[in-house]
Symmetry: C2
Subunit: 216 residues, 2 copies
Amino acid sequence: MPENMSKEDGPSRSACFTFTIDSILNLKQRQDGARLDALKEQRDTGSRTERRESAAPLTAASSPEAQGAHGPEPQQQQPAADTKAAVKKKTRTIFSKRQIFQLEATFDMKRYLSSSERACLASSLQLTETQVKIWFQNRRNKLKRQLSTDMEGPLAAEHFAEAGKNTQLPSFYKDSSLLGGCLLPMPFPVVYPTANAAPYIYFSNSAKYFGLFDGD
Amino acid sequence: MPENMSKEDGPSRSACFTFTIDSILNLKQRQDGARLDALKEQRDTGSRTERRESAAPLTAASSPEAQGAHGPEPQQQQPAADTKAAVKKKTRTIFSKRQIFQLEATFDMKRYLSSSERACLASSLQLTETQVKIWFQNRRNKLKRQLSTDMEGPLAAEHFAEAGKNTQLPSFYKDSSLLGGCLLPMPFPVVYPTANAAPYIYFSNSAKYFGLFDGD
DNA sequence: TGAAGTGCCGGCCTCTTGA
DNA sequence: TCAAGAGGCCGGCACTTCA
């Protein structure tokens, strides 16, 4: 799905308001990197119809990695593009606390993002959309694992699927249209009504916000 | 999309009620073929978690084509599976008028179907889900082309995208939950509210229903 | 520990084919 | 004419890798 559809979603939407959490938190950091995922993100640009209103025209060279984190300090661990086919050592970016906080808060609201919501959140966090996408993917997986171990039983996974099925989340073609596709993360417990059981409430690791407030 | 997600949608949903249009139209046809798309549909069965509550266990052999149409008459044009690797001549199934009618009516309601809606409609029409999926795909394309020529301008396509974006449509993860994922096609004009323009009304070829009522 | 890589699946789109 | 094939893109999931 959904993609191709991004065609119907990406270009003409521009649902990203500038008053996002960023402006609220007043944490305007650098505007440099945090773009192009080089290999995969580029083909994104090559879609049929134009898509993605991303600024930078993707300057073919340099910064092959998306190191969209770590406050103002440069902190590049990529091979500096010495040779053409750089070794491309697998880097592990560390998201800032502000980014994690916002991602977690958003995750509490909904576990799946529409493309426009993703774009909005990404630009708000100075991350690539792919990074946000992957973060949510990994986060979902983490949640699933946590539930499996917490509930110590095969039903855990079902609860997860159950909750994820009839509730939340978007579609590739249309977003929740709340705030025009933008989310304002608010750390509240989320209720996941299940189809055949009493509403299942998950407080999403209530302690995860602790220690995330003191700057990056 | 979705897929993978069909995992969360397929198995535990069973949202297909038996009072579908079929029971209304009292057109219980044969229950035989109209399944397995052989090549592609089969891997569907091989998904990670079980999915699809389809009856027939997919008997490896015979009926490689999905000829889910044409009233009671057999009408098979496939190579009868004489040799193992039959020539597999490209067949062109002709849907019955009843099937077309129902598909068109459903299409008027929404131009994209969730997996459960698709499953429901498919079983209701004795067609494979793939056939329904492809039909909707081709129908969407047809609509788009019609709009392009009708409006004689480059804006037509945009209107289509515009309409398809903020309106309808499902998601891979959750369906409209109307009637439990089942649709009751009702030939009414559909209103496609656009984001930045007055609601765009499309009467979906008002004459297309003519001549579709007289039996198969 | 967790961002990212890999492999597989399904859907959608566009264009094309051939009964 | 139109169901279906083919090629290409995207997102999701499971599982793995390694700074």
